[in-house]
């Protein structure tokens, strides 16, 4: 066992950070760098690569639909063996958004109303039909979502189907594997957002002076920052393991690790961002300042595929099953 990042993984973080910092970089640049469907292309450990990219993009509040259109739907297409669509998606010529139930807790049921997540620039939404087949559906009106860095679009129950060849039906194992990858990457999105909120706040309290001294020299203020740093580091450890497990462990174990990390990162990220608001003071809740944008992003990533309470329930069902359970 070695929980350290490899040199290659560090390099990937750096490249992702550079793309995220480049305001002119669009989806084509992202696809050109091989980041769309990265975890599929990268093979073993691919979900770690996708998670490290998602973390950097989230930290920069990149308004690109990386989790939904760069990881989630490419994973579904790969599992379905939809080679043609997958190739077009990886080249950036075609973009799908995953369609969720209106409460965001799970993929939408076919034929019911839904919400497309990370739908910026998407050509269609992807729904998993009851027979496991992927169906492309037309997207409806944009919703007035809380997260200003990502787009949600309504999908009516009678949304017209769009004709794409989308491969064979997904098996239950395909769906579990995909869910594990997506949960781990959402955990990374939460972590990246929270980390930057904390970094900004710590830089602020080093400089901001009151009573003639930096406010960061007061113990009450220091302990808030320390509390947040502890949450961030614990969440990072959980996230990295889940991203590794997503492709390296059997489906059930991968999903359990992913739920663990999603729960840990959901709890930590909201607390950290709220602590950052407190450390900045009122400015963080105004349009003058990016911290509320981070909090908005965290609130959405928490809810997608279930917040910590939903994860706890699923974990309990698995771990506390009578005799013979793990």
């Amino acid at each position: 066992m070695d929980a350290r990042l490899t040199d290659e993984q560090r390099l990937l973080q750096q490249v992702a950070g550079e793309i995220a910092a480049d305001a002119s970089a669009g989806w084509t640049a992202l696809a050109g760098a091989g980041f769309v469907g990265l975890h599929v292309q990268a093979g073993p450990g691919g979900a770690v690569a996708a998670a490290l990219v998602a973390e950097r993009f989230a930290a920069a509040l990149t308004p690109m639909p990386y989790v939904g259109a760069g990881v989630w739907t490419p994973a579904l297409l790969a599992a379905a063996g939809a080679g043609e669509a997958q190739a077009a998606v990886e080249e950036g010529r075609l973009r799908f958004a995953p369609v969720l139930r209106p409460d965001l807790s799970a993929p939408a049921r076919d034929g019911e109303e839904g919400v497309a997540f990370d739908a910026e620039g998407a050509d269609a939404g992807l729904v998993i039909a009851s027979d496991g087949r992927l169906r492309a559906v037309a997207l409806g009106e944009p919703a007035r979502g809380a997260d200003l860095t990502r787009t949600l679009r309504r999908v009516p129950a009678d949304a017209p189907e769009q004709r794409f060849p989308l491969g064979r039906p997904l098996t239950a194992r395909d769906r579990i594997r995909t869910e594990a990858v997506v949960l781990a990457v959402l955990a990374a999105d939460l972590l990246g957002t929270a980390q930057r909120a904390l970094d900004d706040a710590v830089a602020h309290i080093r400089e901001r002076r009151q009573f003639g001294v930096p406010v960061g020299s007061f113990q009450a203020v220091q302990h808030l920052a320390s509390h947040a740093a502890v949450l961030v580091e614990g969440a990072r450890s959980a996230m990295r393991h889940a991203a590794w497990a997503a492709t390296e462990l059997p489906e059930d174990e991968a999903l359990l690790a992913a739920r663990q990390a999603k729960a840990a990162c959901s709890t930590a990220a909201r607390d950290v961002a709220e602590t950052a608001v407190q450390l900045f003071g009122g400015i963080a809740l105004t349009w003058e300042h990016p911290t509320h944008l981070r909090l908005r992003r965290i609130l959405l990533s928490r809810a997608v595929l279930g917040d910590e309470s939903a994860q706890y329930r699923a974990i309990a069902d698995r771990r506390l099953a009578p005799a013979g359970g793990d």
């Binding site: 020299s217 614990g234 969440a235 450890s237 729960a263 706890y312 974990i315």
Partner: protein, 378 residues
Amino acid sequence: MDFQDTPEEAAFRKELQEWIAAHAPTALPADPDERAASLHGWHQALASAGYVGLTFPAEYGGRGLPPTYEAVLNDELGAGGHPPPPAIGHITNAVRIFGTAEQKNRHLPVMLACTERWCQGFSEPEAGSDLAAVRTCAAREGDSYTVDGHKIWTSEALWSHWCLLLCRTEPDRPAHRGLSMLLVPLDTPGVECRPIVTASGTREFAEVFFDGARVPATHLLGEPGQGWEIAMRLLGYERGPADIGWIARLARMLTLLENDIRSGAVEAGPSAREAVARAWVSLRTLQLHVLRTLSARLDGSLPGPEGSIDKLLLTETDQLLNHVIMDVRGAAPLVEEDAALDAYFWSRAQSVFGGTRQIQHDIVARRVLGLPDGRTPR
């Protein structure tokens, strides 16, 4: 990054699992003194099977394995509901790093065999969080030191043979610089231990009184005036939960609770089940974080101030887990006091010993986040 066992780790894990299946207890005696004795026997059994000092150099009785093996040991013991390994990583490392060849050869093999037991004499009535205010003094007279003073909260002093004593040898130097570390046999005339009975009835803590106790100068660890540096290095290890077996201890408590819920011995409704899952998420985060910390040591680097993050994660997990256990067990430990109440009281001590939660936050804020030190100078 690879969380899979290497072939060597997998072989070690398999051998360990087989040994555990044949030798490890799950239940421990309810009586605190009997429990302490039983744990000591368990530690000696672990030691004679080669599971104490895994990462220690072989020349001192260790196995010379990479740091990640400590995680394997803790995980296997905890997951099976077995008692933790002995909490000696911090003292053995202090002796290994700062001791002379004679001191290392004399002490480390018997420490690792768990045949000679040690306690750590740091805190005093007037030196708790402000450890540099230690007053116990050791005056050099010829080839020995004469020790006078009063230590408190000394863990396991009653059962120990030796004390690692932080004391003032250079009274003219400023607070931190005037301290040294002495290795003191507890049967030295002039040393007296008095138990402190905790709320849960254990006699694990003691006060230790020194009244003209003479200690040979060869028992000095490191240089005169190096005591603070040694203490800080030691605390770096003590704050790493894998170094002191705490992860295994917490994992054991959760395993036993989960077993009782699965078998139906303890009833748990939906909110209790959610709480148990939350405790598991917290424990698992701690385990994975400690594995990350241990991995960072694979290149030979030493524990730094980041160890306080591990200690804080440990504290939060311990206290959350014990709330959950007490809540799920309901009236049982209140009607008939049992190990759950004992563990609950210990969890409250977790944010006090080894540096309080507030001291750990001070360390993270100043030495990890680099915030300015605003304390008023004394």
